[in-house]
């Protein structure tokens, strides 16, 4: 597919909201022209290759490798001190560190299962029957268990058929590992259909259906039309700043000048 070069006009503005999978990286729109009002991006790339690295640089005032409550602020502190030892350290960010929040864990695992185990087009619901059907398609060997290879192959096929997830090629191992983490009761390194269903049932409220998407995040679903502004309507205006806090950008300022691509994404 030919890449589109926006040399003539238009650029893409990425808006950071609050959570979930970063899809925006795979958009093949190349912005060439950057509006003068937007600050150059912060050069965090060379210094920070991890959240811990970023946090320690930003908050560890005395440079002792620990971010103390006084240094970070109590509310945020409690949230991040995963092992509860009174300090936020590298250990709290290691692969084994567990998230305290049951709700977040649930939402993430539901999202993962939804991305990989939906068979119909209703992205907002995952009924148990659909999960079971999808698990069967992954389990090509028919032994009731999905191994990493089956998972990878099936995900690949789904991509080719145009089913989501499409551009997450690098994420399958992560997803598989994360799902295993959540469900692998017998620790055999395989996703057994029974384990997936057991996991589903444990988190289901009894109606055999998980409600995903907007319904899951009631704190964010309200306000504005549920479906977003329709084509042909005036784009809701806004004025926001870049992460570095530079001069604000107002959407309506581009009217009459150039089209604006909006890539909404989130990253927590």
């Amino acid at each position: 597919m030919q890449r589109l070069s926006l040399a003539a006009a238009g650029f893409a503005v990425a808006l950071a909201g609050c959570r979930a999978e970063p899809n925006a990286v795979e958009a093949e729109v190349e912005p060439v022209e950057v509006a003068a009002t937007v600050s150059p991006p912060m050069d965090a790339g060379d210094e920070h290759d991890s959240i811990w690295s970023y946090l320690v640089a930003r908050y560890d005032a005395d440079g002792d490798g620990s971010v103390t409550p006084a240094e970070y602020g109590r509310a945020s502190f409690d949230r991040l001190d995963k092992n509860g030892d009174g300090a936020i350290q590298a250990a709290d960010f290691e692969a084994g560190a567990r998230d305290n929040s049951e709700a977040m864990r649930r939402q993430r695992s539901q999202q993962l299962l939804a991305w990989y185990f939906q068979t119909d087009d209703d992205a907002n619901k995952l009924p148990r029957t659909e999960l079971e059907a999808a698990a069967r398609t992954y389990d090509t060997s028919g032994d009731g268990k999905i191994d990493a290879e089956e998972f990878g192959c099936a995900a690949e096929e789904r991509r080719e058929l145009g089913k989501r997830p499409t551009r997450r090629a690098t994420r399958e191992l992560d997803a598989f590992a994360t799902l295993l983490d959540q469900t692998d009761e017998d620790a055999d390194g395989l996703l057994a259909t029974a384990e997936l269903v057991g996991f589903f049932d444990a988190m289901d409220d009894g109606d055999g259906v998980w409600n995903l998407g907007r319904g899951q995040r009631s704190s964010r679903g309200s306000g504005g039309p549920p479906s977003g502004p329709a084509a042909g309507t005036v784009a809701p205006d806004f004025t926001l700043s870049s992460p570095e806090g530079g001069a604000a950008v107002t959407l309506s300022s581009f009217a009459g000048e150039k089209p604006v691509g909006l890539i909404f994404g989130s990253y927590t």
């Binding site: 589109l4 006009a9 650029f11 808006l15 950071a16 965090a44 999202q111 329709a230 784009a235 581009f254």
Partner: protein, 98 residues
């Protein structure tokens, strides 16, 4: 979610925290130099566009919505956005060969 599949932080409580997370996001996802803007803590723009968790839109030169993508993650389709951009710029629309 973070690169290892684990959530990085819970909802940032302040604009300052949001800015921090957004900056890391742009870096980790190699989105720079694409300009990034950070929504208010009340997610007002996100809500106005019904954009959680992710969504694509194209605003035309006339300030009106030229393209509204489906809600993410399933509706997030960069190909559709590309087609819409081509349309807005008067460029030929090519059918992707995949």
């Amino acid at each position: 979610m973070g690169g290892d599949g684990m959530p990085i932080v819970e909802d940032p409580l302040s604009l300052e925290e949001r800015n921090g997370v957004a900056a890391v996001c742009m870096t980790k996802l190699e989105l720079e130099p694409m300009p990034a803007l950070v929504d208010d803590v009340d997610d007002s723009v996100n809500k106005a566009y019904a954009a959680w968790p992710d969504r694509l839109y194209l605003v035309g030169k006339d300030g009106k919505i030229a393209y509204r993508g489906g809600p993410g993650p399933f509706g997030f389709d960069p190909d559709e956005l590309e087609t819409a951009i081509r349309g807005e710029l008067g460029l030929p629309v090519e059918v992707p060969e995949e």
